[in-house]
């Protein structure tokens, strides 16, 4: 398989460059991650993150032939060669495919990503109907891989001010949770020309999400709630 891979090691490289590899695959190598591991066995200086290899940990997000995705669930058979692999766009590169995700996590942390409920804890579980629980589907499954936020032009321009699709999806996950009591504070936190309203429904996030989630819809629901709150 022919790969063209983004290489940059600040220890030795003045600037980034693309490096071509021809990698022999075994029949059992089905996913792009398998190919990258073969590559690393040949050239151990090539650096990337990976862990679960089944699409649940969110480590191996990268830009594959121009589109963000997870290497571990991207089938090699579906890829046009040479496969061009770059780090996620818009974040500072530490080395090769490894990006600095501080800004991404900072935005996630900015939405108070935990259930707030200050009523005394009952002896048993807080009750929630199956219908209310269903509201969390399509939200709680996010793996924080950053494929969405780093495909979003609004996030590229204002990563410090715009929460981005991943953070906003999680903001709505807690608004939608019937056990959470801080909806008003959460809406206050987002009522801002940048934090929420930089989303222009370009929908790149929906297009790339490896878990099939829909941040744009969640963002729309937050906007609806803000409108409802004013009238």
């Amino acid at each position: 398989m022919r790969l063209s891979v983004y290489r940059y090691n600040p220890d030795v490289d003045a600037k980034p460059h693309m490096q071509d590899y021809d990698i022999a695959l075994e029949p059992t190598d089905r996913m792009l991650l398998d190919a990258l591991i073969r590559l690393k066995a040949v050239d151990d200086t090539f650096a990337f993150r990976r862990s679960c290899r089944e699409g649940v940990c969110g480590s191996d997000a990268m830009n594959i032939n121009g589109k963000n995705g997870l290497a571990c669930i991207t089938k090699v058979a579906d890829l046009k060669e040479p496969v061009v692999i770059r780090p996620l766009p818009g974040l500072p590169v530490i080395r090769d495919l490894i990006v600095d995700m501080s800004q991404f996590f900072k935005q996630y942390h900015s939405v108070t990503p935990y259930v707030i409920n200050d009523t005394p804890r009952p002896e048993n579980e807080r009750l929630q109907s199956p219908e209310d629980r269903e509201e969390l589907n399509g939200l709680y499954e996010c793996i924080l891989c950053a494929c969405c936020s780093t495909s979003c032009p609004s996030f590229w321009w204002n990563p410090d001010k715009f929460v981005g699709p991943a953070g906003l999806l999680q903001a709505y996950r807690f608004i939608a949770d019937t056990r959470d009591q801080a909806t008003n504070e959460r809406l206050d936190n987002l009522e801002d020309p940048y934090r929420l309203f930089r989303c222009h429904s370009i929908m790149n996030c929906v297009d790339v999400c490896p878990k099939g989630l829909n941040p744009t819809r969640a963002i729309g629901k937050i906007k609806d709630l803000l409108v409802k709150r004013t009238v």
Binding site: N9, V56, S59, L144
Partner: protein, 586 residues
């Protein structure tokens, strides 16, 4: 050599379920805690747990902790310590309810309570029939749990050291642990993190096998650190082979599939578990099911053109149930097995999944100083898969791992809080050579101009484990395995990495991980070779039966001298009568 030292009350190594649960306890007690993780916390392997966490909530049908305790003792093939098992099963409801209060998105019953499903080996009334005890968030329970625990730690302002790898424990002359030597992966900088309490929560090491459900990061780092520091490793011969890993890919398919009503078929379309476990059939313990599957394959009744796998049928559950309760499984089957389980069965094989053994601890997470008596290593704690309490004995029940990490993550955190409060201990003086051994290891990697390839030695290690220490074990093959593994260990002393950079040097990380895998693999092979009986996940062709007269004991492996000692199983629970060993039938 000058090396930066930072001081904390406590250092937690690992930010999976047990590390995060422990850290929460420490942060909420306002201790200065540093949580180290090789990966961002939500990327830890707890994220991959699927089916559920056990607790006898009795939300759908009658249940109680004593039944759960019986099932766990029986599941362990009577190698589990009954005091610790009682402790865990009694604590289950408390920690699961607490998790719900933290915001865990459990599935719900119509009355609003937590949804529960049946799981292997969990029964009502001491083995009468399967019981609904597994509290689930669809088939993403681990993901939901790990994120919830991380979120709760964000709330508690826990201090994380993300993408830091702990390399070695620091012990003084008296044997006390005073912290760790660790490396920041981004810069390659090595530091001493000094602590009054060091808690290992490094998870499993399933990457010693070629076919594994485990993530790449599961390299037994805590076990390697412990072994190098002179701490024993307990019951390392007991590795769980999960019945349903996707054939060829290794990716896990939850037992929850069978809990929801799926079952296994051989090539003749026979539901063969009816022969092996007439009462609970496909919901027998994992060791029993995996052995049955391996037997079917061995005797020529495997499916596929090479007769090398078993079929997991669930299409009869219907698309609605599958999409509601098992959506992640459908996704995995499509991606990794090229089948849509709504229409076709999933090809599966027993796959290495979980380490029952680990760093020996008591039920408060304190690490035992040795096989003899209850003395502890001052300053050292362990919890979760890296620890051996032992609640899982020779075979863990499904959903008891998530329970283990909640109960013992919390208990060890509480113990640290108690120890630091009552002792009013100050930081001890670090030995002058605290980091020397670690720096030597690193320096050897940095200066070596030739040597063994990490990828090749790693592959040989995994092949050897797979071939010589699998579901069925044979005396000659084990002896050969011990010999080969010693060779692998010697090769691993001469590792060479081309990459000499300081910045995010993943080649160096993989070399360091391999050194830890070697400790795990050697201890496993040696312990397995020595245990002359069949119990739980350890099945010997030459000793096909359990031998309670001679082997009702835990194995303790010491790195120094590659030596084995033993310690009697604790049959005495905390408050109830013992469950006496009897034949294990499902």
């Amino acid at each position: 050599m000058a090396i930066t030292t930072r001081q904390f009350d406590a250092v937690v190594v690992g930010a999976g379920g047990s590390g995060l649960r422990a850290a929460l306890q420490l942060a909420e007690a306002n201790l200065r805690v540093a949580v180290l993780s090789k990966v961002f916390p939500t990327r830890s392997h707890t994220v991959a747990a699927q089916g559920g966490v056990s607790a006898s909530l009795g939300n759908e049908e009658e249940d109680n902790w004593h039944w759960h305790m019986y099932d766990t003792v029986k599941g362990s093939d009577y190698l589990g310590d009954q005091d610790a098992i009682e402790f865990m099963c009694r604590k289950a409801n408390e920690v699961v309810i607490e998790l719900e209060h933290f915001g865990m998105p459990f599935d719900r019953l119509d009355n609003g309570k937590i949804y529960q499903r049946p799981f292997g080996g969990h029964t009502s009334n001491y083995g009468e029939r399967a019981v609904k005890r597994a509290c689930a968030a669809a088939d993403r329970t681990g993901h939901a749990m790990l994120h919830t625990l991380y979120q709760r730690n964000v709330r508690a302002n826990t201090q994380f050291f993300v993408e830091w790898m702990a390399l070695d424990l620091i012990r003084n002359q008296a044997g006390d642990v005073l912290g760790v030597v660790a490396m920041e992966m981004e810069t390659g900088e090595v530091m001493i993190l000094q602590a009054k309490a060091t808690l290992l929560a490094t998870g499993g090491a399933g990457r010693i096998y070629a076919a594994s459900t485990n993530a790449f990061i599961n390299t037994g780092d805590g076990l390697g650190m412990a072994a190098r520091a002179g701490v024993a490793l307990e019951d390392m011969e007991f590795w769980q082979f999960h019945p349903t890993g996707v054939a060829g890919a290794g990716v896990l398919i939850t037992e929850g599939v069978r809990g929801e009503g799926g079952f296994l078929l051989n090539k003749n379309g026979e539901r063969f578990m009816e022969r092996y476990a007439p009462t609970v059939k496909d919901l027998a313990s994992r060791d029993v099911v995996s052995r049955a599957m391996a037997t079917e394959i061995k005797e020529g009744r495997g499916a596929g053109k090479d007769a090398d796998h078993i079929l997991l049928k669930l299409d009869h559950l219907g698309a609605d149930v599958i999409d509601k309760r098992l959506p992640g499984i459908r996704e995995i089957a499509k991606k990794f097995a090229n089948v849509d389980p709504v229409k076709e069965p999933i090809p599966v094989v027993p796959t290495c999944h979980y380490m029952m053994g680990g760093i020996p601890t008591n039920m408060h997470g304190q690490v035992l100083a040795g096989h003899d008596g209850g003395a502890i290593v001052r300053g050292l704690y362990a919890a979760g898969e890296c620890a051996c309490v032992s609640v899982h004995g020779a075979n863990r029940l499904g959903t008891n791992s998530l329970l283990d990490l909640l109960v013992f993550g919390k208990a060890s955190g509480e113990q640290v809080v108690r120890d630091l409060a009552s002792d009013s201990i100050a930081h001890q003086t670090l030995p002058k050579d605290a980091a020397d051994r670690t720096l030597e290891r690193l320096s050897r990697l940095d200066t070596a101009q030739s040597g063994e390839s990490v990828a090749e030695v790693g592959a040989e290690l995994r092949r050897t484990m797979q071939l010589h220490c699998g579901v069925f074990r044979f005396p000659d093959s084990l002896a050969e395995g011990v010999r080969k593994m010693n060779e692998v260990a010697q090769r691993a002393e001469r590792l060479y990495v081309k990459d000499k950079s300081k910045v995010f040097n993943t080649a160096r990380v993989e070399a360091l991980e391999l050194e830890n895998l070697v400790e795990v693999a050697v201890s496993t092979m040696v312990s397995a070779h020595a245990r002359q009986e069949s119990r739980g996940a350890h099945d010997r062709s030459d000793f096909p039966n359990r031998d309670d007269a001679n082997w009702m004991k835990h194995t303790f492996w010491y790195k120094e001298g590659n030596r084995l000692e033993y310690r009697a199983v604790n049959l005495k629970p905390l408050t109830v009568e013992s469950f006496e060993p009897k034949a294990r039938v499902y």
